[in-house]
Symmetry: C2
Subunit: 522 residues, 2 copies
């Protein structure tokens, strides 16, 4: 690898990345499956029951007391999870309590943060929080994009977050787990209570590897809280609060389908592609998210399965009432669920043993003995940009602004056929471009790009090209799609004006750096 600028190196994706971030040495991306980890997993301290109440009652008065019990001090790493999404109240309570305790320079390590967490900007300003590592949706992302955060943001996939914790790359001092239901011992789940969110998989690594674990709940049950998605044997303190979140913003009452004719057409083309390629057959598996096009695809797929009497072994979701409907109808044996998106998802997970909650360990962790992401036959994902090498971006737009997290996107790229059903342009800005602003996923893992103006198959996938050659599909090269986008939009997107400062880095699933995001001018 060649040097680009001081303390940066050009990685295997051709991007300059820093060799040190927030004082920690970094490894540049070396290619898919090329980096070989060494050493042992993180090892939390050995505890003894002698230090915990025989009664099993670990309740303390409030979050402040719990943080004190867990020995909070300057510079520690505090983690939270995002199953409460934009309805979460707990992460704000935590940093308010830390501020009251006079603690400084904390690293906040959420699995993701949302607009609801905007009040924490004052704790970034006052020095209570040093920086955030984790997806920042909304005002916090904007704050970071403006170069105002002291440290550098580190963006990881859901699987990458497990990997980072497991590998000891991120040591969590105190994990705070919002729990829709819990018992005084700390057993917890997301299935019941006013803030029910389904599962707590994003917090599982935190509960296992953090030095200290605090469970915060507004729905305390007597021991045992079953199922114990989080096990009390990993928990130090339990705090009862009036409310951990706003139910209306945690899961929606219903999921709405897209009505955009373009999106519906893209979803229809994607379905025509997978059926023509022979990917929909008995025992197959698929992943589809809760986004508009993805959901439309799932519904078209359902109709196709009904019509042709085809039955899937498992589906992977973010669950919605459409997916639970397919499960109950018997179209699919199992639903492996990473997060529930509506109340039907929560109900189904509570009642149906074939609706299995998962964690990033089972689904995504690249530093395990396999994970099930690579077993999916059909994977439907989005992107903000795709380029001529099929590289894709999900975190920035063409204007260079950091606007989204990675989620499970990188992890899902390991599926057998990865399809991006995306519009050719958004707001008259091309989505298919020469080079993506930020590489989040290497093109070798992206198989098909489906747009309203045609379908481009990655030339590496000669098998797919052969399978669909005579199916009457609007096949185009990615170059043709790019030219079409530029024709419609009047040229390629303007190049963003970037400043010298790196405000965020993007990790690949193995902990290496695949790209960096610089501050945008103005």
């Amino acid at each position: 690898m060649s040097r680009k600028k001081h303390n940066h190196e050009i990685n295997a994706a051709g991007r300059p990345v820093p060799l040190e971030v927030n004082g920690q040495p970094q490894v540049p991306f070396a290619g898919v499956g090329k980096y070989r980890p060494s050493g042992s997993k993180a090892a939390p301290p050995i505890r003894t029951c002698a230090d915990y109440p025989d009664s099993g009652d670990k309740r303390v008065a409030d979050i402040k007391t719990a943080l004190e019990r867990c020995g909070i001090r300057d510079g520690m790493t505090i983690s939270t999870h995002h199953h409460m999404r934009d309805g979460d109240y707990v992460a704000n309570m935590v940093f308010d309590a830390a501020a009251e305790l006079g603690v400084k320079d904390l690293r906040w390590f959420p699995s993701a943060s949302f607009p609801v967490h905007a009040p924490n900007i004052r704790h970034l300003e006052s020095g209570v929080i040093h920086h955030i590592e984790g997806s920042m949706n909304g005002p916090l992302g904007d704050y970071c994009s403006q170069g105002k955060m002291r440290g550098t943001a580190v963006l990881r996939s859901h699987g990458g977050r497990w990997q980072a914790i497991q590998d000891g790359e991120v040591h969590i001092d105190i994990a705070v787990i919002s729990a829709p239901t819990a018992d005084p011992f700390g057993n917890a789940n997301g299935l019941r209570g006013p803030a029910a969110c389904g599962l707590l998989g994003f917090a599982l690594a935190d509960s296992r590897y953090a030095d200290h674990v605090i469970v915060v709940t507004d729905n305390l049950e007597p021991f045992p809280c079953i199922p114990w998605q989080i096990q009390g044997n990993d928990v130090d303190c339990v705090v009862e609060v009036d409310s951990i979140g706003d139910p209306a913003k945690i899961v929606s009452g219903t999921t709405q389908l897209t009505r955009s004719p373009d999106r519906l057409y893209i979803a229809e083309l994607a379905l025509r592609f997978v059926t023509a390629a022979g990917l929909v057959s008995n025992g197959f598996s698929f992943q589809a998210g809760a986004g508009g096009t993805s959901l439309a695809f799932a519904i078209f797929l359902r109709d196709f399965m009904r019509e042709h009497n085809i039955h899937a072994r498992f589906m992977r979701g973010g669950s919605t009432r459409y997916m639970t409907g397919m499960l109950e109808e018997g179209l699919v044996d199992f639903l492996l669920d990473g997060q529930t998106f509506d109340l039907e998802g929560v109900r189904s997970m509570r009642e149906n043993p074939a609706h299995q909650d998962t964690s990033p360990f089972t689904s995504y962790n690249y530093h395990g003995k396999g994970n099930f992401a690579s077993m999916l036959d059909i994977v439907i994902l989005g992107a903000t940009e795709v380029d001529l090498d099929f590289n894709a971006n999900v975190v920035t737009h063409s204007d260079g602004k950091l606007l989204h997290g990675i989620g499970g996107w990188q992890n899902c790229l390991f599926g057998r056929t990865v399809i991006l059903p995306i519009p050719l342009f958004r707001d008259r800005i091309p989505v298919v471009v020469d080079k993506v602003t930020t590489i989040c996923g290497p093109g070798e893992l992206i198989d098909v790009v489906v747009t309203e103006r045609g379908i481009a198959v990655n030339p590496r996938r000669t098998d797919l090209l052969d399978a669909v050659r005579d199916a009457g599909l609007p096949l185009r090269s990615i170059q043709e799609l790019k030219e079409e986008a530029e024709r419609v939009c009047g040229g390629p997107p303007a190049k963003p004006e970037l400043l010298e400062k790196t405000i965020a880095v993007v990790k690949w699933v193995d902990g290496t750096l695949i790209d960096a995001v610089n501050q945008v001018k103005g």
Copy 2:
């Protein structure tokens, strides 16, 4: 502590214990809750998905191939579990394969071994197995008792085995997990298949902490095998065999109640005691095993609960059809199950979400942030001997012979009221004695001894004594019970003639040595 003999020390229970066992330094028992562990948990190597098949199919031809893939070599530690009990075929296959591979000096680390494993004596003789650490029921125990095993046996409770693995005291190189149902990725459970045993909790620590994990099954299902009691993400290889065990010896078709009038009377007295002491009230919890007296107690308790309309929050078992009946009848909210003893237990666990499988982590591990053993209101246990200090023995008899394992017995001593309903004598040998042959549990944790000739309450439990004083129960001092036993039997048991050689050590729940077992003469 004072020295007794070379390299031995008198521990806090007054017993001489070696300071080194099988080349590893040992800590003498320091008192209940006195030993403070330090350091970090065991940390297995970081793996990468790049080394495992994308298809998720980890099947290899046979156990021999799997052992080779896992890099078996001289001196390694191989673990197995005992959910197949005396019906297990797999542990023998493993050491036969190791012998074929010419490997020597293995440490066999079963959660327990049974008479079915007697063929492994030839591998002890030939040097394939160096020694066994784990309960040895039957011929293997006899072999060890005769001083024939090269190393020293180490007896641990179920919780102590988790603690030893977790704390890195025992490093497992290769774990072999017999799985009644599994998928090619290695997800496994005990709920289905010809060798269904209910759960696989005893193998959970092995799957998480071993360097390499092999799943052996006779009932392969397509991915995903749900529930995944063992997670394929921890598994290296999957082997299909014709049969992993003899169903008739794994779980019984039905559980039989004792018909002994003495045992029934002891069970009845135990029930009278707990009701008189006010321990049976709404929301209470209890543990009862599948042994004759324990089972009779459970049935008397059930009848009492029905009659007085009392409802329990949870019960802990070894499950039998009597316990699943109580659960289904609504007398108890939850059954927290450590192993299923009959087919009804397996069916109930498969069908009833309130029948929760547990692992020694949730139930027993003393080096966690609490466990639920200490939350049980009533705990019914057995013993081979009890002495004037209420110390109890479960591993040897008065003749000094090592005949039993510890199971969860030590861990259960942390319950709120621990009751030993035991006969005053067996085969005309007193059970209540001056000093127990081997201390497995310190008297301070044993509250009540119930015999057919009276009930002795530990004088420390003045609360219990006060509660039952006027209940018309046959209360005796432990001294009186001992005298009564000696009167009936014509004196105390003959002291065994012990040789110098320590053949086994007994660990306390925290990994310290509570006692040692010497070879018996002749």
